[in-house]
């Protein structure tokens, strides 16, 4: 998925806006690269963006790995701005990552580095308070009976 654990405390907290309609998407973004293809830059966040995006279409997987993904779109303009990792695959989960499951495509967003309380320094992820890890994953339908009789 993304960069290693040790580094992320020093990363900047970015504000993420929709590039199409300029509405605010998220205030806790982190610039990262895709594990599967380090050429691809994106912005990730840990908490589900609230009331700014919603899911579109259904789950899918890419060729690079077996992670189950689902696209998200900006609620204001309906354009796809990123995706959510519904269920990570084993290899990705075991490798180093920042533990974020919500991603924004860099071409779909415009970002701003946030400043800390003083207004003089950049706000870093290390400065942010810890969060409860309460992910709201999709529940799969239970294994269905082969034949109903």
């Amino acid at each position: 998925m993304s960069t290693s654990n040790a580094n992320f405390k020093n990363k900047c907290v970015t504000q993420v806006n929709c590039i199409f309609c300029e509405s605010l998407l998220c205030t806790r973004g982190m610039k990262a690269v895709l594990l599967a293809d380090t050429e691809i830059e994106l912005f990730s966040t840990d908490i589900p963006p609230n009331r700014t995006v919603d899911f579109v279409a259904s789950c899918y997987s890419t060729e690079s790995c077996k992670c189950k993904l689902r696209d998200i779109a900006c609620l204001k303009c309906g354009n796809v701005v990123g995706y959510h990792v519904v269920a990570p695959c084993k290899p990705c989960l075991l490798s180093c990552n920042n533990g974020h499951f919500w991603m924004f495509n860099s071409e779909a967003v415009s970002t701003l580095n946030r400043l800390d309380v003083t207004g003089l320094n950049l706000l870093l992820w290390g400065d942010l308070p810890e969060l409860d890890d309460s992910e709201n994953e999709e529940s799969e339908s239970p294994l269905e009976e082969e034949c109903i009789r």
Binding site: D54, A73, K76, G78, N79, E146, C147, I148
Partner: protein, 711 residues
């Protein structure tokens, strides 16, 4: 002079809008730029009312509307919308109610532009989005084009007709108002001057006899004649079916143990012989093992009889469930094909698809084939469908999941399930032909196979109708027909446009039957999966599909799930929702028997029409005011005869009637300006009720002048 006027693109401008968000202005719909995500109108929210009102440069006949799209699918596309049109902003009529597919293709829809074959013009067109493909997202429209006729030579006469039509309807409303209030002179004067008819002469005569003369006998004759002349047929055909469940409790003779009725089971099969009104039941699964018992139920006698406790012992099929049967009523033969084998026994038992026929009169089983697959027919399948074509002596089977041998336990889970295609069996020759293979292609003649679907054969138009079903984890919504003589597939609905609530929910274990005479398909649904709620609920719902009109209507829906009301009395009124049940249809007697333990049936209700009782009641009520004693005698003697005392509703209504004898006439409040008395008012009300049964072309306008007045 049959010159078809040219239809062209109409020029319009944006007149009004409900809202817009960001840079997504209404004007953007005038431009078609599919690759620009900003070239659209987008509402500010999806809270109603949201709309766009377009103003045409000139009044025109608006014949069609085209929606442009974005180059990719987009959640803001309109899943549901309505289009209105009219000559003025306040006075618009609905021209279209539909939805867009969520793709990148332009879509064109025909708009209503005629009233009774006469074209009418519009100056304003209003587009009202109702739902987008992503329920939480706003509405977007990318591009709009309107097509129609602008030529003044064509439009002007239509405008003239439209004005004249409005004028005429206004006068008719006045006439109706005058007559209701007995302003006789005004009525006659207006009618004489304009020569406009308020209604068909027959109804004028009825009004005269009923309201003015109060001659109920003549009125009865007039209504009787109307019924005989078929004038009420349009009304009757539009009436909804009313479901009526009645539990069938078969007779059991004294001394018989539990053996005189089939035990509880699922995955069994039932067929009905409509000629002898006998239902045949074979096989099934009792929770522990497959069954091989064979029963017949006589509808007339209301009694089960066991034909065989174990058909295998009589050269018939071994115990099985999830097989399919069909009956050839003409030749009095029953066929059975397919069965389900648990994965644990699939390796040990033979996977040959045996095919049997039972001759009712000879009471013998014949093995037609040890393995239909070897004969060019289907492999061993379960949850398939089978239909009988008695006329050409053919059997059609489609779908079902093919049972395969497992290499190991792991393999059975991960291997792709295979589904069986469409096959025909020529009974006379005893041969099979493959008509359509299972195909995931979307060609016009391709069919996708599935399990748990419904398939019915229409004996009149000689088509197979297939709908619903499941393919692995996907629930299929499509509906297609197959012309058996022409070898042609016709897609009725590809299942992408879904109006939730307007068509049966994607369900599994739907059971359907067909009536070729009424041209209807009846569907009873058990287990159904509500895509939005993501639960699987067992609920009863009964739907009727009108083949000619291509529309579904829900006759009955039980919204309660099994868990919600375990102890409720509902279970006594109707069978509790269930699945793996069976449904047979007696098309001769128009009764559907849903074989559900303990059993149930429902029938369409006839229109409750009794002209005699309507006039008898009117007579009674008028007498009650003037001659109470005579009215009482009338009630006890004449009226009582017309009541069905076995019907609790009718009896209750009858018992309430005597209260009219004690009502004082001061209950009636005369309206300020007219001299209408209670009798006149009641008779007018009765007339208005009777008018509803006649076709609209004969009746006065439905509205009333006073309703146009707003505070």
């Amino acid at each position: 002079m049959a010159v078809v006027p040219d239809s062209g693109v109409l020029t319009f401008s944006i007149f009004k809008w409900s809202s817009y968000s960001s840079t997504y202005l209404p004007e953007n719909i005038l431009v078609d730029k599919p690759n620009d995500q900003s070239s659209r109108w987008s509402s500010e929210s999806n809270y109603p009312p949201q709309f766009l009102i377009l103003k045409l440069e000139r009044p025109a006949i608006v014949q069609s509307i085209t929606f442009g799209k974005y180059e990719k699918t987009h959640v803001c596309n309109l899943k549901k919308f309505k289009v209105f049109g009219g000559m003025s902003e306040e006075n618009m009529t609905e021209l279209l109610s539909s939805g867009l597919k969520n793709d990148y293709n332009k879509e064109t829809f025909t708009l209503k532009h005629k009233i009774d074959e006469q074209m009418f013009p519009c100056r304003f067109v209003k587009i009202v989005p109702l739902m987008s493909w992503g329920p939480s997202f706003n509405f977007s429209i990318w591009y709009i084009e309107l097509h129609g006729i602008e030529d003044p030579d064509v439009v002007q006469p239509c405008l003239n007709w439209y004005s004249k039509y409005r004028e005429q309807e206004a006068i008719r409303l006045c006439l109706k108002h005058f007559r209701q209030h007995n302003y006789t002179e005004a009525f006659e004067s207006l009618q004489k001057k304009t020569r406009i008819a308020l209604e068909h002469p027959m109804l004028t005569h009825l009004h005269d006899q009923l309201v003015l003369q109060g001659d109920f006998d003549v009125c009865e004759e007039l209504i009787d004649k109307a019924v005989r002349d078929g004038l009420f047929n349009q009304y009757i055909s539009q009436q909804e079916y009313k479901p009526r469940w009645s539990q069938i409790i078969p007779k059991c003779n004294k001394g018989d143990g539990d053996d005189n009725r089939p035990g509880m089971r699922g995955g069994h099969q039932m067929v009905i012989d409509v000629q002898t009104e006998t239902v045949y039941l074979f096989g099934g699964w009792d929770g522990t093992q497959d069954l091989a018992d064979f029963w017949a139920y006589s509808v007339q006698e209301n009694q089960w009889s066991c034909i065989s406790r174990d058909t295998e012992k009589e050269s018939g099929p071994s115990a099985r469930s999830c097989h399919k049967m069909c009956i050839d009523s003409q030749r009095r033969q029953i066929y059975t094909l397919g069965r389900y084998l648990d994965s644990s026994v699939r390796n040990s038992k033979s996977l040959k698809s045996d095919f049997y026929r039972y001759d009712i009169d000879a009471n013998t089983w014949t093995l037609l084939s040890e393995d239909t697959s070897a004969d060019g027919g289907p492999k061993l399948v379960f949850d398939h469908q089978m239909c009988m074509d008695s006329e050409k002596h053919m059997i059609y089977t489609f779908g079902g999941r093919i049972l395969t041998c497992n290499g190991s336990v792991e393999d059975s889970r991960t291997s792709e399930p295979q589904f069986s295609g469409l096959y025909a069996y020529h009974c006379h020759a005893g041969t099979w032909s493959l008509l359509r293979e299972d195909s995931c292609n979307a060609g016009p003649e391709d069919v996708q196979s599935r399990i748990g679907h419904c398939m019915l054969f229409h004996t009149r138009n000689r088509c197979l109708y297939v709908f619903g079903g499941q393919r692995s984890k996907t629930y299929l919504n499509d509906f297609f027909s197959y012309d058996v003589d022409g070898d042609h597939v016709e897609i009725i609905s590809d299942g992408t446009k879904k109006d939730s609530g307007m068509v049966p929910m994607t369900g599994f274990t739907q059971r359907a039957t067909i009536d070729p005479e009424l041209n209807e398909i009846h569907v009873l649904s058990g287990l159904s999966k509500d895509k939005d709620k993501r639960e699987e609920n067992v609920r009863n719902s009964f739907w009727i599909y009108d083949i000619a009109r291509n529309n579904w209507s829900c006759v009955y829906k039980n919204d309660q799930t099994v868990k919600e009301n375990p102890g409720k009395a509902l279970q006594e009124e109707e069978p509790c929702p269930r699945f793996a049940h069976q449904l047979v249809y007696d098309e001769m007697h128009k009764v559907a028997n849903a074989h559900m333990f303990p059993g149930g049936s429902c029938s369409p209700t006839e229109v409750m029409w009794c002209s005699l009782s309507v006039f008898s009641l009117a007579r009674f009520e008028e007498k009650a005011q003037s001659e109470p004693l005579s009215a009482l005698k009338y009630l006890q003697n004449d009226l009582s005869l017309t009541v069905d005392h076995a019907d609790p509703e009718e009896t209750k209504e009858f018992q309430l009637l005597p209260s009219a004898l004690f009502k004082s006439s001061s209950d009636f409040i005369p309206l300020g300006f007219s001299d209408v008395d209670q009798t006149y008012a009641q008779r007018t009300q009765l007339f208005d009720t009777l008018v509803n049964f006649f076709p609209d072309s004969m009746t006065p306008p439905k509205g009333n002048l006073v309703d146009l007045i707003t505070l």
